[in-house]
């Protein structure tokens, strides 16, 4: 196990630090708008799973990969997807089930995918993306392609079989993949620690022979540092690695869940203590950045995503015939269209 060192004060790479802050602000703003769309405007059909408070994981890891590297994500994947380079308008349309969404409005929040930016799919089935990611990495190896795969999943996912099967596969075939357990400490309404035996995610990966790291997932500089090191080693043939990023789910499981099953002030305390955006602002302030510059990043992100929601809400719904399209190439159910 290795621990990363925070990049502090004077030796801060301020361009990178600003771009990390910008990405976190954009993710936050996107999800705040998505929650408004769901709750205030009733425009999201079904539930969405916000990652508010977890932005450092998405921003930090995605800055370490190339645009054509691959990402597999989860039901809580808006941040990962945006940070991988997807267009926020196409994403918002997808959340609202509109035409022009990343998947034509057909995937929705939980099954968003954008192959154009290497985003091979979120997945509504917890843990299911792990085995798929192993396959994508295997494909890179077999084709002698230098792209790497990042597979992000929650702390709940490590208790399902595909976790063992996927990690074992990746190690046995020595694949170019970074597994990231984005540990927000909850699995739906249940505290994951109460349902997880042993020393947790990283220890399990270590038992399978993967190099493992644990990082403060609310500290974007640390996440970015360690992810960069991992990705560099993986790309040069070092085999699969595992990153346990510890963060916190500030909202309920879905935007509609008041999270009444946990202490009332837990989320507030966490926000005060460890909000990744505030932390990054503090770091940049220490490094001499002007408050006004940081505020401008915030305002721009807010403006961008307010516009995105407005535009998405005006987009048309997809043609109902889409329900029967692309099922298979023979015996199309379109003949049953009514």
């Amino acid at each position: 196990m290795s621990k990363s060192r925070a990049t502090r004060g004077s030796n801060l790479d301020s361009d990178r630090a600003l771009s990390l802050l910008t990405m976190m602000e954009r993710i936050r703003a996107f999800e705040e708008q998505a929650c408004l769309a769901a709750e205030r405007d009733k425009l999201v059909l079904g539930a969405i799973h916000p990652s508010i408070g977890q932005e450092a994981v998405a921003a930090g890891i995605m800055q370490a990969v190339n645009p054509d590297d691959f990402l597999l994500s989860t039901h809580r994947g808006h941040g990962h997807t945006l940070a991988k380079g997807a267009e926020p308008l196409a994403m918002m349309r997808e959340l609202l089930g509109r035409a022009g969404g990343c998947c034509g409005g057909k995937g929705g929040s939980m099954h968003i995918a954008d192959f154009n930016v290497g985003m091979l799919g979120a997945n509504g089935v917890v843990s299911a993306n792990i085995t798929i990611a192993a396959g994508a990495a295997h494909s890179m190896k077999l084709q002698r392609d230098s792209r790497v795969v990042v597979c992000i999943f929650g702390d709940g996912a490590i208790n399902r079989g595909p976790f063992l099967e996927g990690l074992n596969w990746a190690k046995v075939f020595d694949l170019p993949i970074l597994f990231v357990c984005e540990d927000n400490q909850y699995s739906a309404t249940t505290r994951t620690s109460a349902m997880t035996a042993g020393d947790g995610a990283a220890a399990r990966a270590r038992a399978l022979g993967l190099v493992d790291h644990t990082v403060d997932g609310n500290q974007v500089e640390e996440v970015a540092d360690i992810a960069t090191q991992c990705i560099n080693r993986i790309r040069s043939g070092g085999g699969p690695e595992f990153l346990h990023a510890i963060t916190y789910r500030r909202t309920g499981h879905t935007s509609f869940d008041p999270a009444a099953y946990r202490p009332a002030d837990e989320a507030v305390q966490h926000e005060q203590r460890a909000d990744p955006i505030n932390r990054q602002r503090e770091l940049l302030t220490l490094a001499g950045k002007d408050k006004s510059e940081l505020d401008r990043i915030h305002t721009q992100a807010q403006q961008e995503m307010t516009d995105v929601l407005q535009q998405a809400a005006q987009s048309p719904f997809p043609d109902p015939a889409l329900a029967l399209k692309d099922v298979q190439d023979i015996g199309s159910p379109e003949q049953e269209l009514r």
Binding site: L45, G46, A47, G97, R98, G105, K106, G107, G108, M110, H111, G124, V125, V126, S127, G156, A157, N159, R160, G161, S187, A188, T189, T190, A194, M195, T196, Y261, F317, P318, P320, L322, A323, L324, V327, G331, P333, E336, L337, R338
Partner: protein, 325 residues
Amino acid sequence: MTTLTMVEAIRETLRAEMLRDERVILMGEDVGHLGGVFRATDGLRQQFGAQRVFDTPLAESVIAGSAVGLAISGLIPVFEMQFLGFSQNAFHQICQQIARTRFRTRGSHTCPITIRAPFGGNVRTPELHSDSMEPQYAQGTGLKVVMPSTAYDAKGLLASAIRDPDPVLFLEPLRGYRLVSDDVPDDDYTIEFGKLRVMREGDDITIVTWSASVPVVEQAVEQLVAEGINPHVVDLRTIVPLDEAGLVAAVEKTGRCVVVHESPAAAGFGAEVITLLQEQAFYSLQAPLKRVTAPDAPYPPPGIEGHYIPSSELVVRAVRETLID
């Protein structure tokens, strides 16, 4: 008598069965502390304690697999699959372990397991959260498949399921959880499996349906009656075992039949119903048998699910066509 929603009837039955038999235990993802994501087990952990009502890891295959061990060594597990779609992660355990234990042990051990799973569409939740998969489980010979559509039936059938020595998949239509409510006797009662419920007597045509499609058919019936058509309507309630005699009698009565279900058509349970009628009621038939089902496509996103789920208009149209033939 109390008016209960379907989810309340389920909760009260779980409570009653736990009081009745201390071997009954409840488990599943989020069923303990929270009381289930749909509140079907709300308050039961407080009442019966953590030994009998407990949260499990997010791990469907071990939930189902461990139930076999629990059952063959003296307990009566009732476990929840948070959504039926996720039960596919435990398909092996359900269909090849739970369902076959009696067969493999030559009857010396049965699996008194009840699997509760919400399912079905029209609640704006994507794909596998809405899938209707009853035909896949109907083939898991050894497994009973119970599909109530009313609070009254939910209570009587769930009590039968928990007391059954064999495994039962108890499918709860999500849309009905709070929308469906009816009068439920406070006293204990059970409903025998394999007995359909006649929803309405009529003699023009027989409509066969079950579970989530029952309210769709009820709506269609209103329209048909307004047009002067008098349908005979039955709710199968359990598809395994199937009330073959009741089904044949219901169709012989009118000589015409439309089957309505929410899962896709191909190899759906409607195909089984129609084959049975072809085999056993052929000489009374006056028109081709017809199905109204979802198309053979995956469950679509919420914005267009209304075009996927069989609608009452489609049922009305199918009935009219069958009457003309």
